[in-house]
């Protein structure tokens, strides 16, 4: 080794400082590339942990029972007779509570109705629920109480309203203990749901909760929208799933006409989708890194032609092919590592800003993405400087010196 690495670095640094606009341009391109990889993957990871958090807030031991079978089950009496799937009823839900492994069961009914009070009318989602719903979905009550612990088939004119509903119907007046009208029935407000409870598909603050039997009367139906079942532990989930299917099959004259969805299956799907999104967005950002690499190549090519005389001189002073090569590759590497460093800082600051702006999205760039961004930055820097560097090294010293 005739040329020390440190000398290459010092020489490259001198060259960068000597042509600041060129260096800044390349730094900018590189740092934008790296920063976008870092920020976009951080965003993706943030979305992933947001969704995970959502599901965790639903309770990970949760099973959802919905009427109807989602897979083709081959030949069965119901297909022969053209039966529609049987509805889920409160008695079905009640039957599911008779297992030790089942912790809580929450039958659910959903509909939309006009909620009115003193001439103020508002179309609202009405959720027929039970006392256990609150604990099962990890919701928080802001004021008052949630639905009382009563037999499920007993209707009761009480309602828990979301905070937004309260604001719109009651304004600044106290709502607890007041009466309001849902459809053509009167209900007394016993609790208010705040914003702590967040949940996929349900905006807790914009919903009105009434006992499930009341909801069935209101919507004039005996069926349920779905039944939520919470298993006592994660390990008992498969057993509980089998238990649910068997129990309901027995109750429905031997027809398997329900679908049980585990949170894990849903979570896995979301995870896959978001993972794919993160990868593709990261990939798009990586393309910008390649573009930065090509820019480095172009600018280095310009540098080689600008510094032809200098290269000729270095050759006259005794620089060989490899020394010229390492000088130019070293320069590009220095540039791309500076750019990558700057990009990393920008990207992390950007992620920090994202976290500040959207606290629900924990936007942290995963380590693999950061490492890959740095690697690609350095790799493209080295790769794309090779052509200009080789061109420089191959210059004929006589013609190079006679230029200018």
């Amino acid at each position: 080794m005739r040329l020390f690495g440190l000398d290459v670095l010092r020489f490259a640094w001198g060259a960068l400082v000597g042509y600041p606009s060129r260096a800044l341009l390349m730094l900018l391109a590189m740092s934008i590339g790296v920063a976008s990889v870092v920020m976009l993957t951080a965003l993706g990871e943030g979305a992933r942990s947001y969704v995970r958090g959502e599901f965790a807030s639903l309770g990970t031991n949760l099973l959802t029972v919905i009427p109807g079978r989602s897979e083709t089950g081959g030949f069965s009496p119901s297909t022969l007779m053209g039966e529609t799937p049987r509805d889920l009823t409160l008695a079905d839900a009640q039957a599911l509570t008779r297992s030790y492994s089942v912790h809580r069961v929450a039958p659910l009914n959903v509909g939309s109705a006009e909620v009115s009070r003193k001439g103020r009318v508002r179309d609202t989602v009405i959720l027929g629920a039970t006392h256990d719903m609150l604990a099962l979905r990890r919701w928080q009550i802001m004021q008052g109480k949630f639905l009382p612990k009563i037999r499920w088939n007993r209707a009761m004119p009480v309602a828990v309203i979301g905070n937004k509903v309260r604001e719109e119907l009651f304004g600044t007046e106290p709502a607890l203990g007041q009466w309001l009208r849902i459809g053509d029935r009167r209900f007394r407000v016993i609790g208010i749901m705040g914003s702590e409870g967040r949940s996929i598909g349900v905006d807790v603050e914009e919903t009105v909760y009434i006992p499930v039997a009341s909801a069935q009367q209101l919507f004039n139906t005996s069926s349920l929208f779905r039944i939520l079942v919470e298993a006592r532990s994660r390990n008992s989930l498969p057993a509980v799933e089998q238990y649910i299917i068997k129990t309901l099959q027995t109750r429905h004259q031997g027809v398997k006409d329900v679908t049980v969805i585990t949170q894990d299956a849903v979570l896995l799907t979301f995870d896959k989708i978001i993972g794919a999104l993160t990868y593709s967005v990261g990939g798009i950002a990586a393309i910008s890194l390649m573009v930065a690499g090509i820019l480095i190549m172009n600018v280095m090519l310009v540098a080689v032609s600008q510094r032809t005389a200098e290269i000729g001189l270095l050759k006259a002073l005794g620089a060989d092919h490899r020394q010229i090569l390492s000088m130019f590759v070293g320069e590009a590497l220095l540039l791309s590592s500076l750019g990558a460093g700057a990009g990393l800082i920008i990207g992390e600051l950007g992620s920090l800003a994202l976290r500040q702006a959207f606290p629900v999205l924990p936007a942290h760039a995963p380590l693999w993405a950061t490492a890959a961004a740095m690697g690609v930055a350095l790799g493209t820097g080295a790769l794309f400087s090779l052509l200009p560097a080789r061109r420089a090294a191959a210059l004929d010293p006589v013609t190079a010196l006679s230029r200018r």
């Binding site: 040329l3 001198g14 270095l314 006259a316 002073l317 005794g318 060989d320 092919h321 006589v398 010196l401």
Partner: protein
Amino acid sequence: MPVIQLQQIHRDFQVGDQIVHALDDINLQIDAGDYLSIMGPSGSGKSTLLNLIGLLDRATSGHYILNGQDVTALSDTEQAITRNKTIGFVFQSFHLVPRLSAAANVELPLMLAGMSVEERRSKVAQALEALHLSDRAEHKPDQLSGGQRQRVAIARATVTEPAVLLADEPTGNLDRKSGLDVMAILETLNDRGITLIVVTHDAALGQRARRQLHMLDGRIHREEQEG
């Protein structure tokens, strides 16, 4: 003991479909410590000859023996090392790297030789001192006068203590007084033993040399020797 021996050197260039004989059967022997000038009109081959002696160019045929070693067949890297050790260049347009200080410019050949930083520093200081440039060490080339720039270039050419100093129109970009200064410096170096070869088309300058070659059409047309 000859430091440079050229034997039947030919250098042909292809220009279009024509072959130009830039050097046509050159035989030349230069002794260590010689002071030689190469003169001739442009296109006579004097620069090609200088480049060839400086290992910047290769002969089409013939042999070049430098310091007793046949360097014709050396690889590029070996030639680069030889150039670094035994040959110093002084150019008409100085060829200083504009972003580097005078000291850093002088340091370049030592850096390329892989010398340690401390050793370099003392050699650079010596070289600058010898050319009365110590107070200009940290100046950039554009802060120096033409004469000073050429002196920095000479310091750079001599810092490796080469056997041969090649000067291509060293005074071409200088006013008369600086030019004479530079020539005096080069001749002092020659007095101390360095082999000095000056290419010029200025007859007055060429006549200062002890040996004067006149080139024409790639051949040594005439040689004069003094003393």
